[in-house]
């Protein structure tokens, strides 16, 4: 748990070559867009800095020389350049975002598909919310990097390069004077980033403290109230809240200093240009137009420089998210598949457990040396107290987990030799907690399988006796299922899950009977449904109903992970062993209800 928890606290480096290389793998399919984007970037980056240059020409060659027609021509060129810049900029944004969206789409679907393959062991250990966050928010935070981060870095760099080229081509010594302030800017930015990172860490620490305090106390609010500690807790809260505030206020200082300082530097640069360039103008070494252009370039130059340093944050978040995403993608908790799976055809449904040992966590055996066999078409009930190992038998039969020792065979072949998904096509499970998905009643029965026709769905519902209540719903089979079927009763949900199992028409059926009590009428419906469900197939039932055990061909009695008794209801009762006690404990009451 603790190592998993620290996952969400990964702050991440701003740049990690290995992670970056892996991330760039996802860009590969869109190489063309990237190349085009970079080319467009070079173009668009040139168009911005071109304008001050054109203005210089306008001033020097036309305005000063009083050539109005020439001025009009330059104006037309300026306008053309501006228009092209706007159009290219639009296309550029559109296509880079499209690329970013496609990349995160790919990554998201890959991640989701990967999770589908993970073994139940992973889900047992990981809260659902955490996996959801990986697939949604973490992937989302990469979006910014792909769609604005990377490309914008290129664009910033190219703008800077173009400005350099234009400035140096006009006057290299004035350029040197203008750039003389640069080292100070770089140093200031470096210092600012460092300070901000430190305070940011501080802020983050206090924010985490604040959040975990609130999280904890919202969860335990009843304890606070029962012990009337509201006053004391409010004091504690205000301390934490205050620390958070102070940390934030401290970080304001650095922003408050940095931004004005950058503007001051910019003013100093302007001053230098006027002072040095003005001298040159007087000496007629440069024209007045050059001076005006330089003033515009300084204005233009600071923005990409500042932007570049801001990309740092985007990169940092993206790195942290990608680290978590890749960690999940690298999680190989799979149930092993055979290299050359045996084909499953004409399954008869003969099952045999031979000396099976099984543990969820090694060392804590939940099944110990369990052996039994089931003939095709036989109906077997498994009984036992809580924790006796009933559910584990189901779990290993469908290879949700693999066993430690022994073997399980289906029609004489070890189930580990089959592709597990092929195996599951022949075995349906009806779980104790009915799980309904958002969608319609119909889609909850077919579970999206296109092999199951609407007629089959209705037929299955009719057979289990669910048709009546379904057709009474306002939209019948197309009635929307919301919030895991909150509007349906427990019994109705069960009937739907029976219809689901029946629609799949499996050779082998596993039924984990629900313990929750329902009214007599529903109980009767359910019992009839179970009868119909089990007819003509091999079935294994974790039994909680008296009727189920009475109708079983064979009963397997589990106790503390071992198979203790085996036989029919009557045989086992006369034995007066564990089964007899279990019967009195769990089933006898139902007999009383029945007779009364």
């Amino acid at each position: 748990m603790s190592t998993e928890l620290s996952d969400d606290e990964i702050l991440g480096k701003a740049y990690d070559t290995k992670l970056m290389r892996r991330l760039l793998q996802y860009v590969k399919p869109y190489k063309k867009i990237v190349v085009i984007a970079i080319l467009l970037n070079i173009l668009v980056a040139a168009l911005g800095p071109l304008r001050p240059y054109l203005i210089k020409i306008a001033i020097d060659d036309h305005i000063v020389l009083k050539d109005y027609d020439g001025l009009l021509l330059i104006i037309a060129v300026l306008f053309g350049a501006l228009l092209i810049q706007a159009i290219v900029q639009y296309l550029l944004t559109y296509f880079t975002v499209l690329m970013g969206q496609k990349i995160i789409f790919d990554l998201r679907v890959e991640l989701f598909s990967h999770v589908q393959k993970l073994a139940l062991k992973y889900f047992d250990r990981t809260p659902v919310g955490r996996t959801v966050t990986r697939v949604t928010n973490d992937v989302e935070s990469l979006n910014e990097m792909f769609s604005s981060g990377i490309v914008a870095v290129f664009s910033d760099v190219f703008v800077i390069i173009w400005i350099f080229i234009f400035m140096f081509s006009m006057s290299w010594d004035l350029s040197l004077v203008a750039f003389s302030v640069m080292p100070i800017l770089f140093y200031a930015t470096f210092l600012f980033r460092k300070k901000v990172r430190e305070t940011f860490r501080d802020v983050r620490f206090h924010l985490a403290r604040l959040n975990s305090y609130m999280q904890e106390h919202v969860t335990g609010m009843n304890v606070v109230q029962i012990f009337t500690r509201e006053k004391q807790e409010l004091k504690k809260f205000s301390e934490i809240n205050n620390d958070h505030k102070i940390a934030n206020i401290k970080s304001i200082f650095f922003y408050a200093v940095f931004y004005p300082f950058v503007e001051l530097l910019s003013a100093v640069t302007i001053g230098l240009i006027i002072w040095y360039g003005g001298g040159e103008v007087i000496q007629q070494q440069i024209s007045i137009g050059v001076l005006v252009a330089f003033l515009q370039y300084t204005e233009m130059f600071w923005r990409p420089v500042r932007d570049l340093s801001e990309k740092y944050n985007i990169l940092q978040t993206a790195m942290a998210s990608s680290e978590r995403i890749f960690k999940l993608l690298d999680n190989k908790t799979f149930v092993k598949e055979p290299d050359n799976p045996v084909q499953l055809t004409n399954v008869r449904g003969e099952i045999e457990f031979k000396n099976v040992w099984f543990a969820y966590n090694s060392g804590e055996e939940v099944l110990k040396n369990v052996s039994f066999s089931i003939k095709p078409g036989e109906r077997v009930a498994i009984v036992g107290a809580t924790g006796a190992g009933k559910t584990s038998i189901i779990n290993i039969l469908t290879r949700f987990y693999d066993i430690a020792k022994g073997s399980i065979t289906l029609d004489g072949t070890d189930i580990r030799c089959f592709d597990k998904r092929a195996l599951r096509k022949y075995i349906s499970i009806v779980l104790q907690d009915v799980y309904l998905f958002s969608g319609t009643i119909k889609s909850n029965i077919s579970l999206g399988s296109d092999k199951i026709t609407e007629e089959q769905i209705i037929e299955a519902a009719k057979t289990v006796g669910a048709h009546k209540f379904i057709s009474q719903l306002p939209n019948g089979y197309d009635e929307e299922v919301k919030e895991k079927g909150a509007t349906l009763s427990v019994g109705q949900k069960q009937l739907i899950s029976f219809a689901r199992a029946l629609a799949y028409n499996p050779q082998i059926l596993i039924l984990d009977e629900a313990t929750s009590s329902v009214d007599t009428e529903t109980e009767q419906l359910i019992q009839n449904a179970i009868e119909k469900l089990l007819i003509g197939r091999t079935s294994i039932v974790v039994a909680h109903r008296l009727s189920t055990i009475q109708n079983a061909d064979k009963i397997i009695v589990m106790h503390k992970g071992e198979l203790k008794e085996e036989g029919t209801h009557q045989e086992l009762l006369t034995k007066r062993g564990i089964y007899y006690k279990l019967y009195q404990l769990q089933y006898k009451d139902q007999e009383l209800i029945k007779t009364s």
């Binding site: 304008r51 203005i55 009083k66 109005y68 789409f105 589908q116 659902v128 958070h244 100093v268 469908t398």
Partner: protein, 583 residues
């Protein structure tokens, strides 16, 4: 102020003088800033007249000085307005928490922790963005905009008119685009939440999916959702990508007009090149306010809906609090409890949980409640410390309705050990003395002895100073239960209520604790809820609850004799014991 944000007025009022100071700083800083292009103009014009470099140097110094002047105030703006926003954030969060703490249990059961946390973090942070950056930038850009326009007109009104001509169009387009962007953005958010739900349902129902081999279908379904999400994003981008080009295009056109019309004026000898330079510099200054406009509008919108959500919580009623008739001279409680025709249900549209309960517990007595899950045992005892109030009938303590006893007095005299063990991520010692101001080791040792925790603690790395929870050690279920029991004993309550507090403790330890408790419980009223016969059998009186009503009462022997529900339970537990013995 618009809509829900007017609720912030009282917070702003607290910092009124500093806020006014901050606005003054904005004005001063802007004045410094707008002087720079003027000095530029002067220096360019001077240069054209070919005069000595001395005057140029003066302007250079003036430019740097103006920037320094503006910068100092810019520093002070952040130190006032942004700092105020953090203060308001603090105040708001403080008020939020003080309010949350007083809300009844009902609120916490109807709202998930995640939901409440989202209000406390995201919503408050959105409001903060409004109070700080949004207010700062809108005042800053607004005033700057006005000053610059005035200066431009004073320099050359006809050129200003030409240059500013495209700007209303810009504002109009921005307004149009933002409106549409908002709609599309909402559509994206909806899809994102669908996507989250899809993933959530899939992962939670993974057993079903694996059982029915629906992985491929699920992947296809998820891809389709993701694709729709992509499409909606691109739909927005189509519009959003217009922003930057429109800005640059319109601002650029203004610049071109300046060169064009201004150039003509220069050619005609009506204008100096310096003015053109100043105009170009001013237009560059105006672009940012235009961009900020959209950004600020967005923040305001978010803050507005966040504030609305926060207000929804702020108006949640306390339900359970001291009423005016509360007896505020009563601080001592003896411990006699009586339920008179008590009925209870959680909501008007839900079935009754308790139906006309009548019972009496004498001072110093030990009584037990037994019955299946969901028969109303926990609900019943929760009425005593007023975690809920009765719907019908009354609960009396020492003959007085609990609603007329000060909440503080009432709860300080009741030691309730709730069913769900909850300990704070603090030291074990602090957890034990949580409810009392006495944190002496003597007390900790005493109660730990009673609950059989002392031996366990010896194994902990730092004894009682060991930190529990995520950042410390994880206690076993039984240890947790014993620690919560110790916490209740530490407040030396007149009434002790144990709600199924031994479920994770093994029977042997339980027996030991019960033996020790006997001494502690002398002269105190005790109520024990349990599923286990072994826990309740020694009680002075046992109540059997079924479907919200008391169906049997008496001592262990009496009830076994009676041969009904209790006797049946007793028999079954004996059977279970026997089963457990078998190996």
């Amino acid at each position: 102020m618009i809509g829900s944000l007017s609720n912030l007025n009282k917070y702003f009022a607290r910092y009124k003088s500093r806020l006014i100071l901050g606005i003054t700083f904005i004005l001063l800083s802007n004045i410094g800033q707008v002087y720079i292009p003027l000095f530029l103009k002067e220096s360019i014009d001077t240069l054209q007249k070919n005069i000595s470099t001395g005057i140029i140097q003066k302007y250079v110094l003036l430019i740097v000085a103006a920037s320094l002047f503006s910068g100092i105030f810019r520093f002070m703006i952040r130190q006032t307005i942004i700092v105020i926003s953090r203060e308001v954030e603090y105040d708001l969060r403080q008020d939020f928490w003080a309010h949350i703490q007083r809300l009844p249990l009902r609120f916490f059961q109807n709202n998930s922790t995640g939901n409440i946390m989202a209000h406390a973090t995201n919503d408050i942070s959105n409001v903060r963005m409004f109070v700080g950056p949004a207010v700062m930038y809108s005042i800053d850009t607004g005033t700057k905009f006005l000053i610059i326009i005035v200066i431009m007109f004073s320099l050359n009104s006809s050129l200003s008119l030409y240059a500013l001509l495209p700007l209303p169009l810009l504002s109009f387009l921005v307004y149009k685009v933002i409106k549409k962007v908002h709609i599309k953005y909402t559509r994206i958010q909806e899809k994102f939440s669908d996507l989250t739900t899809s993933a959530q349902e899939n992962f939670a129902g993974i057993r079903v999916i694996k059982s029915y081999v629906c992985e491929d279908y699920e992947i296809k379904k998820f891809s389709k959702e993701s694709d729709e999400y992509l499409k909606r994003n691109m739909d927005l981008v189509k519009l959003q990508a217009l922003f930057q080009p429109i800005f640059y295009l319109i601002a650029g056109i203004s610049g071109i007009i300046v060169i064009w019309k201004g150039g003509k004026m220069v050619i005609d000898g009506e204008l100096s090149i310096g003015v053109i330079t100043a105009f170009i510099a001013y237009l560059a200054m105006l672009i940012w306010p235009m961009i900020a406009f959209g950004w600020v509008a967005n923040i305001v919108q978010q803050a507005e809906s966040s504030m609305k959500r926060l207000m929804k919580i702020f108006i949640e009623p306390y339900d359970i609090s001291d009423n005016e008739e509360a007896n505020n001279t009563l601080f001592e409680i003896k411990g006699e409890i009586e339920f008179k025709n008590v009925s209870f249900r959680y909501r008007d549209d839900l079935p009754w949980v308790l139906k006309e309960i009548n019972l009496k517990i004498a001072q110093g007595e030990t009584v037990a409640f037994i019955g299946n899950t969901g028969v109303g045992k926990t609900t019943l005892i929760n009425l005593i410390p007023r975690l809920y109030d009765t719907v019908d009938g009354e609960v009396l303590l020492d003959g007085q309705n609990v609603k007329e006893i000060l909440l503080n007095t009432l709860r300080k005299n009741i030691g309730l050990v709730p069913q769900e063990t909850f300990l704070f991520s603090d030291t074990l010692a602090n957890n034990i003395v949580y409810g009392t101001d006495n944190d002496g080791q003597e007390l900790i040792d005493k109660v730990s002895d009673i609950v059989q925790l002392t031996k366990d603690v010896e194994q902990f790395p730092h004894g009682f100073e060991t930190i529990l929870g995520e950042r410390g050690i994880t206690l076993s279920g039984g240890q947790k239960q014993r620690a919560t029991l110790a916490r209740a004993l530490a407040i030396d309550p007149k009434i002790l209520i144990l709600d199924d507090s031994f479920s994770s403790v093994d029977t042997h330890t339980e027996e030991e604790i019960l033996k020790q408790l006997k001494n502690f419980m002398k002269n105190r009223t005790s109520i024990i809820i349990s599923h286990r016969i072994s826990t309740v059998k020694d009680a002075d009186k046992i109540f059997v609850l079924d479907k919200g009503a008391i169906v049997e009462e008496g001592t262990h022997d009496e009830l076994v004799e009676k041969g009904e529900i209790y006797a049946d339970l007793h028999l079954k537990q004996l059977l279970e014991e026997e089963l457990k013995e078998i190996n």
